[in-house]
Subunit: 309 residues, 2 copies
């Protein structure tokens, strides 16, 4: 029997620590070639677009179709522009098991969970301060999920808009963080050992000469061609360069701007499964470029369905 679940029901069963584990597992499946993910379907309208992502993990019980839409006139009538839902099917019989009306929430969570996975295996042990670049939804969720990857609760957040920075400070303080705001990015590079960039920037915000030894950076903003948050030279400095998906990152991630041999980029799934690829010392510089992989959708949809069932 097909069940429909709404956002409130979905939020109730989400456990961040578990989500980080299943997302890490998903990256391992992906990097081991155990996932089947055809090209994304696209439907364009005058002021809207719809992306259809679908796939499965071999020998698993489920397959998943995600429909994510942006209807850019929606805010005029009081609706969010982004929407989304996931369909969970049986891989054995093809039956539709559940419709998850998550309104895009699960995509936000699985994206943030990937940041926590990267931090868990790549960030230095000792972190005095977390740096968050940007102050939107991902800037919030990335930080919230980092709770599971580090004990550090001191945070500097960078943004250009004082009002948004203050809002961020207030909200995230309530979640147990000690937040300072800045409009000067070097406050972050000087003081933070774990930095997450979450902006839609099209030109670098952080430059190689600002990076100190013992820094880990997770870049999640560059998810499409033309976007860039990190100066390309930063990848030359790095002792470990990680991509969630090698193919995607060299195509349209921050890594697409880098002049670095593909062979020297390690996929996040291989970092998770092989300690040789994880951080060795607190002096190393590490960078993870995250563009978002469909296996994350598959894993989180499965997880939510199994918890709700």
């Amino acid at each position: 029997m097909t069940k429909i679940y709404n956002l409130d029901q979905i939020k109730e069963v989400i456990n961040f620590s578990e989500i980080i584990e299943i997302i890490a597992e998903g990256f391992v499946f992906y990097s081991q070639g155990k996932t089947v993910v055809p090209p994304v379907g696209y439907l364009g309208f005058e002021n809207a677009d719809v992306h259809i992502k679908y796939g499965y993990i071999r020998d698993d019980d489920f397959y998943v179709i995600k429909i994510a839409s942006g209807f850019y006139e929606n805010p005029k009538i009081g609706l969010p522009s982004s929407n989304g839902l996931m369909l969970v099917f049986s891989q054995k019989t093809g039956e539709l098991l559940a419709v998850l009306l998550d309104e895009g929430y699960l995509t936000d969570i699985r994206t943030a969970a990937a940041g926590a996975v990267a931090a868990k295996y790549l960030a230095p042990k000792k972190i005095d301060c977390i740096g968050i670049v940007g102050c939107g939804i991902q800037a919030r969720l990335q930080l919230e999920l980092l709770k599971e990857a580090t004990e550090c609760r001191k945070v500097i957040v960078w943004g250009r808009n004082h009002e948004k920075l203050n809002q961020y400070q207030q909200e995230m303080s309530e979640k147990g963080f000690e937040i300072e705001t800045t409009t000067n990015i070097s406050d972050i590079t000087e003081n933070c050992q774990l930095i997450v960039t979450t902006t839609p920037a099209k030109n670098p915000l952080i430059f190689a000469d600002q990076i100190k030894k013992g820094t880990h950076i997770t870049a999640v903003g560059a998810d499409a061609e033309g976007k860039q948050e990190l100066e390309a030279k930063i990848f030359d400095l790095a002792d470990i360069v990680v991509a969630d998906s090698l193919a995607q990152c060299v195509d349209h991630g921050d890594l697409s701007h880098a002049n670095i041999a593909k062979e020297s980029i390690i996929e996040l799934g291989n970092v998770v499964s092989n300690p040789d690829f994880q951080r060795k010392t607190d002096e190393q510089i590490t960078v993870a470029d995250l563009t978002g992989v469909a296996v994350q959708d598959i894993q989180i949809a499965k997880y939510v369905y199994q918890k709700l069932k």
Copy 2:
């Protein structure tokens, strides 16, 4: 609020006469370039496959995603191998309005309705006997929907398997037809003015030298590369050659085997909208090649949603 409707609920609101009208309208939209239908998404498993078809009519209220699957081990556990569902979304806001768990029924109906549309505009006025080639689901539904396109209730059905022919005869007699069965295809070409071919044949079943003046043939079986029901020369004989989709039919329909200029093939939507392209005399030979077009799914999903709402 998203609603889920099951097959029983869907069947209750289906009116064949209305369906034929909205399918005809859909073909007109399609041939006028008013539909947006991206390439079909495909997900393959070892013993199963899933097709994702999606699109919309410009300036309409809805967009539709259809998921059709074949899980070929299902019959072993008492489930049908084919399954399907349609999702109806708002084109204004992107919201999911309804999940139609039609199990593939709406695809069968919209396919049969296209045959009725072709018959309505292309078959001779006076039909003594209908010829049905094949005795599967489409052989049943095509005939059932032809009730709306002709008064004729005399039918000859062709098949290879006597048991299946007898089953067909019994079932369709109960629906008000007078059914004769044959294993000799010339019984059909000799006696029938309206012929519908519904088989998965890979070699021609009907040959040009069998076709009499005043015959209309609708070929619905060849829906993929390598399939063929009509000898290619039949198209040379025809006064009017019609394709539901010119692009699809010359690619993988019965017309893909024909040696005929594209310019002389008329799309069904243009037949519907322009009397110049419809049958003129009872002496003409007409052939319609139907491969199935996503606008049919869009139209029937919209229709069902609006009736159920």
